[in-house]
Symmetry: C2
Subunit: 465 residues, 2 copies
């Protein structure tokens, strides 16, 4: 379940002060994200950077209504049947609209849905394949279907009835939930978080079509400035003269084992002859299950890691990946990798059991820990992406820091479980020095501190690696 | 569930006599199948016929031990750990050994298993894809795994301990049953026939490797002469100067609606400019569920259909497809089509809900009736195959025979359900004249007659279409 085996020493962790700092280490990203929200974006603008990997389908999809057409689109939308979007639906509109799922131009029609379920890939007109492993679909119920009637377009609105987008040339088809779940997760066991949240009670129909999105999606949670689109990330990588971009997907706090891995990856890329490899540190920002550390806390933690100099801000871009989380293991890791191609990454770091979790009703992990990286290396449409499997980092007692595990001197390394780390943070104890930067650890302690009710020791399970 | 909507009139079916006839209408096939079993076959012999579609991977796999090496192989096998094959395992050895699953050269290793589960296709060394949608795997249990130990080869034996094959360069990996079932069937509901028969109680490990098969697989059931290998079928099609081969997969009795469809397909192919389209009428001969009509009865019925002149023996080859049946709908229909490419077919006829069945625990069909043909038309590796969707045949009251349904005069056509047909056959009643040739119908009546216990009306459910 843990995405990286973690070893730490049993020595006490020295106390550090945690001075409040500015977000200076996020500066390059921060600067970028201060662009006005109304920056004009054109639909399906062609973006091919000679230095960066091509987006899937050759051009990066962007689906925003040009400023000059907004008034007209609003007028049109007012006459259309309305579909209210859930939070997860909105996150998918975000994902599609910025081209993370290029070449998709909207919620999937049945042809795309079936190809995704059966082949984890879509065939393009030229006969080539792009990867597409998780269904990006919008469910409606019988009443909504009746309401739509013969209309060929619908308006998509948020919970406050604000117009978000128009869905054009719609196709309505059956939502075969059991089959969708079985083919996406490889199980139909009750208790899969995304299924419980977004499928079980969803409507029995799916509606596909082409999106026209009114404005870039914003959440007004103080983190929008970190939500760079693929186009913005590509601009940033180009500005930095990146000749390699290596993406690190995460949904957990960063410890020094991760940092070691990322630093070492850069070193290896330099050795391979790249002059300026840039790290895309890319926490997932959409729906996560209740016991994951929330995005706001994770972003605070990541910020501290950069402030403390564990990662080099000059060669690191921290940004938020807007996708919701499926916890669908080998199926989902393909989506995580494919989306990063569209953002310009040509190297992808993959660990043990990516996007995995415990089996919801059996005492075992849901997925074979090695299947994720194996499936990723074989996936249709990901041939252009260089897959970098994790090396296992461990706490090396002889060095007093995280290091790559060496089986020949296994006795020098120590494990710590996720449960152990959670317990430490909950009890405001410190892990061994060198496990995580003090600023980052403090954020984690503060998070659990904010949760613990006075009369209960029960806190959600955090997954530290 | 029915592979073709069936309509018949309510008029009584006239009685016919059913003279015993020779198998003369199978003659071309029969003649071929009389070749000595010991016909030398070489492993992975290159078979590219200029007139026929290329096998997957460019060459037809054949995995038989040359006569000159048999003594040595038997000697080697005697020293190896032994795995006893079930009937279904043996059917898969049959399938693999003759190249139906080309380019597979043995039971799947993990890489092939994962690609099959996730992508329904295998990537070849040149980057191209071949279709492969159902796992062809061999399960072993903990004790067998221990017994194999460090051996790199195992001997495969039948239930009487006769040596069937050697499996070389073996790889043993975990049998993740739930995931295999979910991703292959799109459900994990209890009661899937193949799962109950071959997976639930199978071992927790899978063993892959390269097969060397001692002899062509024979069942000594009087039907071996109809079990032509892909190579033999290709020879037959070449001998007949076929410039198009259209395959019809079936596991049920042939009625005149099917016959109309096949005859009409030939007519359309002639119109398209083909000079000599040959029909491969290709009943599935491996494992089927208990309530399907058994192979021996189906073969009798097919024989009568040819005898009665419903199909033209000059342009029809009847042969048995040795694969076991999964009842895995859109996933399995790809396997059915892919295997026929390897036998030389470049046209494949697909009906409603191919390889489908009722949901084991819900009152609905397991698969969307249209998904099979849609998935088939989109499947990676099947691009070279021409998919011919079924036209719906119906009993036309105005003509007193089966005809293609015309929605504009729907009132002229009549339906009959599978249950209705089964009831008629069980009660020794006749269907309307023109629904099925009398000889074929008599076989069906005889089959149900052989089943009905004196004190019970209960018979298995037959699926007539």
């Amino acid at each position: 379940m843990a995405s990286m085996a973690t070893f730490i020493a049993q020595t006490p962790y020295p106390h550090h002060s945690f001075p409040k700092k500015l977000h200076t280490h996020f500066a390059p990203t921060l600067k970028l994200s201060l662009r006005p929200v109304s920056t004009p974006k054109t639909r399906q603008r062609l973006r091919i950077s000679s230095g960066l990997i091509e987006p899937d389908g050759g051009k990066l999809v962007e689906l925003f209504v040009p400023e000059s057409e907004k008034t007209e689109k609003k007028r049109e939308a007012a006459t259309l049947p309305r579909i209210k979007l859930s939070r997860i639906d909105l996150e998918w509109v975000h994902v599609i609209s910025e081209g993370w799922s290029s070449p998709l131009t909207g919620f999937m029609r049945e042809s795309e849905f079936l190809q995704t379920l059966h082949f984890n890939s879509l065939r393009l007109d030229d006969g080539s394949f792009v990867n597409m492993s998780v269904p990006i679909v919008l469910a409606i119920d019988d009443a909504q279907k009746r309401q739509i009637g013969e209309s060929t377009r619908v308006a998509l609105v948020d919970s406050d009835n604000n117009l978000i987008a128009i869905l054009n040339d719609i196709e309505i088809y059956k939502h075969h939930k059991e089959e969708r779940i079985a083919r996406t997760w490889g199980t139909t066991a009750p208790g899969l978080p995304y299924v419980d949240e977004a499928i079980t009670n969803a409507g029995n129909w799916l509606i596909g079509g082409d999106l026209e999105v009114m404005e870039p999606i914003r959440y007004n949670d103080g983190l929008d400035r970190f939500r760079l689109s693929p186009a913005e990330l590509r601009d940033e990588f180009t500005k930095r003269n990146a000749d390699a971009v290596f993406a690190f997907q995460l949904r957990n706090p960063v410890h020094n084992g991760h940092a070691l891995l990322m630093t070492d990856t850069r070193r290896r890329l330099l050795e391979m002859g790249y002059k300026n490899p840039i790290l895309l540190l890319h926490p997932l920002g959409g729906y996560t299950k209740a016991d994951d550390v929330p995005l706001t806390w994770r972003m605070k933690q990541h910020e501290k890691v950069l402030e403390d100099g564990v990662l080099d801000p000059e060669t690191t871009v921290v940004s938020i990946f807007p996708s919701p989380m499926h916890y669908a293991g080998p199926t989902e890791v393909q989506w995580h990798a494919k989306a990063r191609i569209n953002a310009g990454a040509n190297f992808y770091i993959v660990g043990r059991d990516p996007a995995g979790m415990g089996h919801p009703i059996e005492k075992r992990d849901l997925y074979d820990a090695d299947h994720g990286k194996k499936v990723l290396s074989m996936a249709p449409g990901l041939e252009r992406l260089n897959i970098l499997p994790f090396k296992v980092a461990a706490y090396d007692k002889t060095q007093g820091k995280m290091a790559f595990f060496e089986p020949s001197r296994a006795q020098d390394f120590i494990f710590i479980s996720g449960t152990k780390m959670r317990t430490l943070a909950r009890n405001k104890e410190n892990p061994p020095e060198g496990f995580m930067c003090p600023g980052g650890w403090k954020v984690l302690v503060d998070y659990y501190d904010s949760l613990v009710p006075a009369d209960s020791g029960k806190v959600p399970e955090a997954v530290p690696a």
